[in-house]
């Protein structure tokens, strides 16, 4: 059994700050996706499936190279294709790797009521802990990118882990390693931001993409996956990348006070029990007996 562990800085459904938060220095990891050199080859999709060992999906051709509309609980990485008509009448084939954005301020984690079902490691990776997941699906409402997906067999939520098992061993994520053109890049958030800005500048100055820019939305505190876009003013054209993603106000509203109250006094625990009882009690019955059912 593995002895590898990773320190956590945020915990879902948990009263108070994560233990030891801010004690150790750590660097934020980040994926850079340069859509201007993405060739939609799907190597990242295959590398993800190979590494994580998920079963295959029955797909159907649907008038596109993209054979499923969205990521699924066992298909975490999907290239979204768009035959985009430019203003001058020419065509662009826009391709974007869609996956968990690993937000600095993760809406899924904020929305999650189950203690320890969603964590954010000190390196910034947002990860689901299926054995603590109660399958309530609240993370879906918290996510502005529609990433968490429900496995009906195990009644748990799944999504990209940013290959935390590789990253913790000093390796890059599987998708990053496979990417043939170098459209995907991995490093610290600082370095990736720098690289992305340089590339965007190059695109503006040397390749005529006047609106080229970096997608690193502030509404979720910035993301652990950032994009270089030919046209940063129109992220929606890239398979529906939201222009200004935010954690929904509902999630903010009831998670905000909860935290405040929890920090103010020991009422946190009581409140948690209350919230659980009132809102999620019935669902626990469904999912509670699947301790190890979320394999892998």
């Amino acid at each position: 059994m593995s002895q590898a562990t990773l320190a956590i800085k945020r915990i879902s459904g948990h009263a108070g700050p994560a233990p030891g938060e801010g004690v150790e220095r750590d660097y934020q990891v980040c994926k850079l996706v340069d859509t201007t050199t993405c060739i939609g080859c799907k190597a990242c999709e295959v590398a993800c499936l190979e590494w994580n060992g998920y079963e295959f999906t029955d797909t159907v051709f649907d008038n596109s190279y993209q054979t499923m509309p969205e990521t699924t609980w066992k298909y975490w990485n999907l290239i979204k294709f768009n035959e985009h008509e430019n203003s001058d009448g020419t065509i662009s084939l826009l391709m974007r790797k869609d996956q968990c954005m690993h937000c600095a301020d993760p809406g899924c984690l904020a929305a999650c009521p189950a203690d320890g079902a969603i964590v954010q490691y000190t390196n910034g990776i947002v990860d689901f802990q299926q054995q603590n997941c109660i399958g309530c699906g609240y993370c879906v409402s918290g996510c502005p990118f529609d990433i968490p997906k429900f496995n009906p067999a195990t009644k748990k939520m799944f999504k990209c882990t940013l290959c935390v098992d590789r990253v913790s061993e000093g390796l890059e994520p599987a998708c990053i390693k496979s990417c043939p053109t170098g459209c995907l890049h991995f490093g610290t958030k600082e370095d990736m931001t720098d690289l992305a800005e340089k590339r965007a500048t190059q695109l503006r100055e040397n390749f005529g993409f006047e609106k080229a820019g970096v997608y690193d939305p502030a509404g979720v505190g910035g993301t652990g996956v950032i994009y270089v876009l030919h046209d940063a003013t129109n992220p929606e054209a890239y398979g529906g990348l939201p222009k200004d993603p935010h954690i929904p106000w509902v999630v903010k509203f009831w998670k905000g006070p909860a935290k405040w109250i929890g920090n103010l006094a020991m009422l946190g625990g009581i409140l948690r029990v209350t919230v659980h009882y009132l809102r999620f009690g019935p669902k626990i019955v469904d999912g509670s007996k699947h301790e190890n059912g979320g394999q892998p």
Binding site: M1, S2, Q3, A4, T5, L6, A7, I8, I11, H14, A15, G16, P17, A18, P19, G20, E21, V23, E24, C41, K42, A43, E45, V46, A47, E50, W51, G53, G116, V119, Y121, T122, D127, Q129, Q130, Q131, N132, V164, D165, R166, S168, E169, L171, A174, K177, S178, C179, P180, G182, G262, M266, G268, G269, E291, N292, G294, Q295, P296
Partner: protein, 193 residues
């Protein structure tokens, strides 16, 4: 690996959590991770059999090549040292594990007899014997030593060898050596088309 992908070190978390409410605990909360699945596997360096870029691949197999182990592939990944692919792979190369472990592989020699509607199993020795007899008979029946102008041609035009794209240089050499010595003129390859 049979256990769930990652399990909280519950003692650390629960213990820490209790005290943390008072803001005292400095022991970081940690999560246990899935073990790196290739950590102890044997790594064999090979070349991708698909396109002509020749990406270096690492084939990970179980066991450490000890006598009592039959290696089985558990993962394939790009070779980061390879100057051309530098660890990257395309969607075909990245799925090579499924090619090696494929349940559709042919596993035994078979023959389809004239007029038959099915495959029959055949022993290797018998298959090779039958094929050799057919090759010899066809060659002997049709071999041309001189053309109509009386010039030496020493050729056999009634049999063909067609070779595939993933045949190694050494295998191709063996084919050229054996087939040309039989006098074959129809020697063609994927390289043509």
């Amino acid at each position: 690996m049979e256990l769930s992908r990652r399990t909280f070190l519950k003692s650390a978390l629960v213990g820490g959590a209790g005290i943390s409410l008072l803001g005292f605990d400095l022991t970081p909360a940690v999560a246990q991770l899935k073990e790196l699945k290739i950590a102890r596997a044997t790594e064999t360096r090979s070349t991708c059999p698909y396109c002509s870029v020749s990406c270096g691949v690492l084939i990970y197999t179980i066991g450490d090549k000890a006598k009592n182990v039959t290696p089985q592939v558990i993962h394939v990944e790009g070779d980061p040292d390879h100057p051309i692919n530098r660890g990257t792979l395309c969607p075909k190369g990245a799925s090579l594990e499924q090619d090696i472990l494929n349940p559709r592989r042919l596993l035994k020699p078979q023959v389809r007899r004239p007029g038959s509607d099915h495959w029959e199993d055949i022993a290797w020795a018998q298959a090779i014997d039958e094929i050799a007899h057919r090759v010899k008979k066809t060659r002997d029946d049709t071999f041309i030593e001189k053309d109509p102008l009386g010039r030496t041609v020493n050729r056999c035009e009634s049999m063909a060898w067609i070779g595939g794209c993933t045949d190694t240089n050494e295998f191709n050499y063996l084919v050229v050596k054996t087939m040309r010595s039989l006098g074959l003129t129809y020697i063609e390859n994927q390289a043509r088309v």
